[in-house]
């Protein structure tokens, strides 16, 4: 089905400029790829380590985001408490904060000299500059994506289905598992995909809080940044890999958010 658009032509023209603005650098980058050396470049041990580490830590961070973010969204969307608006603003803060600041904040909390770092030190656990630190940094910046999309979805579906379920005799936990979560499942999925994408691209907080140790904390974006100094061709090849992964993620998000819209309407 197509509907007649009522958008003025000059709007279309500006939109086209915007699209070119986004696409041109990406296209330009592909022209710089040394295709003959592409696979050897991305298959070097350092690149492979970085890619696998990135995927592993991003998946772990996504899991953290779902486990913590779903309850946070439920509390924000379904309860009222004093200071709720402030709490919401603070939870979403990592969205707008420069990631470096996130890294500094994480160091202050979990670093060796940090607030909780000393306690962990006593227990023999060191978080900063470990793979755990990478996951924490990624979770810190990615969590708001899940909370934001899920809280919105929870507000859109409203509480009417939950009220009906309760009057049919379902306890709050039953309502949650059998009604609320199935209804917002598409939003959880698209939120998780967005979080994964944000985690995958994380750079600033990771570098500050976790450092850049091959195979331990050097994720793909860090590796690309590093390679750019020594081997620009490798950097471009790896960048292309990240672009493709990101494209897949974006495609997946659009599909799942499409499901969200359909299931609500």
């Amino acid at each position: 089905m197509t509907t007649l658009s009522a958008v003025p032509r000059w709007i279309v023209a500006i939109a086209a400029i915007g699209a070119i603005f986004v696409l041109l650098p990406l296209v330009a980058m592909t022209t710089r790829v040394d295709w003959g050396q592409f696979f050897p470049l991305i298959a070097s041990p350092a690149s492979r380590d970085a890619l696998l580490l990135s995927l592993r830590t991003s998946l772990a961070a996504t899991a953290v985001c779902v486990v913590l973010g779903v309850p946070m969204s439920l509390v924000l969307a379904r309860t009222t408490f004093p200071g709720q608006r402030i709490v919401r603003a603070l939870v979403l803060l990592p969205l707008v904060l420069p990631p470096v600041i996130g890294g500094i904040a994480l160091l202050a909390a979990y670093g060796r000299m940090g607030l909780l770092g000393r306690t962990f030190e006593v227990l023999g656990i060191q978080i900063a500059f470990s793979t755990t630190a990478v996951v924490l940094a990624q979770s810190f910046v990615a969590l708001p994506f899940l909370v934001l999309s899920l809280e919105g979805a929870l507000r859109i579906i409203g509480t009417r289905y939950e009220a009906v379920a309760a009057t049919l005799g379902a306890r709050p936990s039953t309502v949650l598992w059998r009604v609320t979560l199935p209804l917002v499942l598409p939003a959880i999925l698209s939120g998780a995909v967005l979080s994964f994408a944000r985690a995958l691209g994380e750079f600033g907080a990771t570098l500050t809080f976790a450092g850049s140790l091959q195979g331990v904390t050097r994720t793909l974006p860090l590796e690309i940044y590093l390679q750019r100094e020594t081997d620009p061709d490798a950097a471009v090849a790896l960048a292309l890999v990240l672009v493709v992964v990101s494209l897949l993620v974006v495609g997946l998000t659009l599909r799942t958010s499409g499901i969200t819209r359909r299931s609500i309407l």
Partner: protein, 344 residues
């Protein structure tokens, strides 16, 4: 005490109502939008906490001082205007939701669900998804789902209002069948719903109970202009005199067995009123009242002519003949036989 005993106040909604629903009876709650009908249901269902008040069902407290029973433990099922079937579950799973939540096995809940679907003549819809149903089918399934939860008290919030006019009679008949012997509160602004489904009516007006009683009694002999309006009747209030009722707009001639001087109400159907553009001759046994036309309102195949105290229904042809406009003087006449005069 048997049945529901309810009294609650919600200041923010200017709601203050006390209400009893004896076990096994269906009570219709009538009232205009904003009268507090939905608030009443939300309070009974446990979806809203009152500022003060108390309610209990057969001795089990729903709310009260220091007492709050959560909705899932009240045994109160709510059927809303929209079916609100869970979109991610099949029709059968929707109906099985109540029994399943009550702890029955999957097999037993499904068996119960099939039985209730058959009861509402929707057995063939079991495997469908809610999105595939028409409005009438969905509401049928919602009725089955509510009944399958085996509620002690059934709350119906305008269950027929959102449906296509062609399917409402069938569903109304079905509701009448399933409500027999059940305790239920049905919120509606359709007098027909009250007459077919309810034993008693409660009329709410702006946050409080205006009048209540036996359905027929209340709707045929309204005591409040508001109820009369709902029932589609003219109501004139006044005091009884020899041969009629003295009201603010004039004397109504009617047979009366009431003591002179007591307060009384006279109910007249708007279709029984003859409208004249000039003062007619007064025949014995007829009442003639002079009114000022305030409004002409098309209602289906009649025109409702309103004045401050009375309204009359005319055919469009008659209305055109009379050529009355807001502000015109008119005379309403009706026979004593068409007046129902009763004591208040």
């Amino acid at each position: 005490m048997t049945g529901l005993v309810f009294r609650a106040r919600v200041a923010a909604r200017r709601f203050e109502v006390s209400l009893d629903v004896p076990e096994g009876t269906t009570v219709a709650v009538l009232g205009p939008n904003g009268a507090g009908k939905s608030t009443l249901l939300e309070l009974v269902a446990g979806l809203l906490r009152p500022d003060s008040g108390a309610a209990d069902w057969q001795g089990t407290g729903f709310f009260g001082e220091g007492l709050w029973l959560p909705p899932h433990r009240r045994g109160v099922a709510l059927l809303a205007q929209e079916a609100l079937l869970f979109p991610h579950l099949s029709v059968l799973e929707n109906v099985a939701f109540g029994p399943r939540s009550a702890g029955q096995s999957r097999a037993a809940s499904r068996q119960a669900a099939r039985r209730w679907l058959d009861e509402v003549e929707a057995g063939d819809l079991a495997d469908k998804r809610p999105g595939e149903l028409s409005g009438g089918q969905a509401q049928r399934v919602a009725i089955a789902r509510a009944l399958a939860a085996d509620p002690a008290l059934l709350l119906l919030d305008e269950p027929l209002a959102a449906l296509d006019i062609a399917v409402t009679p069938t569903l109304r008949r079905m509701l009448r069948r399933v409500l027999v012997g059940r305790t239920a509160i049905i919120v509606t602004h359709e007098v027909l719903d009250a007459l077919t489904l309810a034993d008693r009516v409660v009329v709410l007006g702006h946050g409080g109970v205006v009048e209540q009683g036996d359905t027929q009694e209340v709707l045929e002999r309204p005591r409040h202009p508001f109820t009369a309006e709902l029932a589609g009747l003219n109501l004139l209030l006044g005091h009884v005199v020899a041969g009629g009722l003295e009201t603010a707009v004039g004397r109504v001639v009617a047979a009366t067995g009431l003591a002179v001087g007591t307060r009384g109400g006279a109910a007249v159907r708007p279709s029984a009123i003859t409208v004249h553009a000039r003062e007619p001759e007064v025949r014995p046994g007829n009442t003639v009242l002079r009114v000022e036309v305030s409004d002409l309102e098309p209602r289906g195949d009649v025109i409702r002519l309103r004045s401050e105290a009375l309204f009359a229904d005319l055919t469009p042809a008659r209305a055109a003949d009379l050529d009355l406009v807001p502000g015109s003087a008119a005379w309403f006449s009706f026979a004593a036989d068409d007046v129902s005069l009763y004591g208040l």
